[in-house]
Assembly symmetry: C2
Homo-oligomer: 205 residues x 2
Amino acid sequence: MARRSDHTRDELKILVLDKAWQLIDSKGFEGLTARAIASEIGYAPGTIYNLFDSMDDLYLQINARTLDILYDTLSAPVCNNPGKPSQDNMKAMALAYMDFARDYHPYWLMLFNFRLPEDRKVQAWYQEKIDRLFEPLETLLQPMFPEAHERKMKMAARVLWSSVHGLCFLQETGKVSIVSQNDASSDIASNFLIETFLAGLHAND
Amino acid sequence: MARRSDHTRDELKILVLDKAWQLIDSKGFEGLTARAIASEIGYAPGTIYNLFDSMDDLYLQINARTLDILYDTLSAPVCNNPGKPSQDNMKAMALAYMDFARDYHPYWLMLFNFRLPEDRKVQAWYQEKIDRLFEPLETLLQPMFPEAHERKMKMAARVLWSSVHGLCFLQETGKVSIVSQNDASSDIASNFLIETFLAGLHAND
DNA sequence: CCCATAAAATGAACATCGTTCAATATTTTT
DNA sequence: AAAAATATTGAACGATGTTCATTTTATGGG
């Protein structure tokens, strides 16, 4: 039996989440089970439930990690180069998101498979992590809107972001081949979307 | 024991799918189990597996029905009124999609939760049902492109369609509140997307 | 140092799931 | 009527998430 002084409660939580992350990496989401985690860290299955309300709760914590990495990805200098036009930065940001969806595929999928437990609202700290994702794009859109139109700018950010996500999602889950089987097709489509959207924004000024 | 002359194999398949559809409606996707279906139609669980390869196979058949209804929805006259400007039709089509996602919520979700069994490619007949979904939007976009640019038009259709889907998805799964908690916010966002995208198309002519 | 109390870890047990397949029941063919 | 073919069955298997009475470990006071 694991001795309870081996780790503090918080250390143990981190240990579980680290191992969960590894399991997803090696065996995919299907391989992520309470028993597998427990066995790997040398604890009994019941211990998981001393630390997390449920497996859904654990999935939520994994998603939190994923959202943090995604935020860092979208905040990276390659997508936020002040020396480059906003359009270039946006294209880079869209491609960064698509690369992220491929590189972190199982984690990225979990973000959308997650089901809220019953009618419970998503917790505030989690919603905060989601809302934060729009900030880098908002920063890029800012100069294109008068200061008085901040609300409209924020909507534009969410609409464009959602659009890129939709493109990425249908592409990545293999539901739709946008232009052809070409590997570059998602890049082309993404660039086309941003060019068109920005042109539309300027035209409607 | 059910007598095997009660139904032909095809009738039985339809019976199973009808009951599966009902179960999703009444108990949600979680209530859709082989045992529940079997019990409801007066057969044993094993019978399901005489008709379908697996539950995933059954989900695929349910998805096929959903895709058919969605196709009919997007083909409806309200979104394809020749007497109205294309932009109005597109806005109506986007709203029709969003209404569909709400009205058929569990079925609509299943379209994206479905996981391909192993590395098997999606079957051609299923891919056909997906590709067909773009046709109504392609018809609306057609007049905006020279005939020689058909490929570009098709890409535009898929990009705009994906964008609307992304908007709808993030809205419907409660991940993102686009403008506010307002009920009309998704309509506003969707209209904004289409106006901007079309303006961008014309500007880049 | 010992013992009472608190806390953590356990793992068997429960309900449920998808799935299999030998056995049984039914129909068709000979 | 017997035999072959086919459909249906349902117990059984190996999983899963989850619970919780029991056991183990740590702590603190006398």
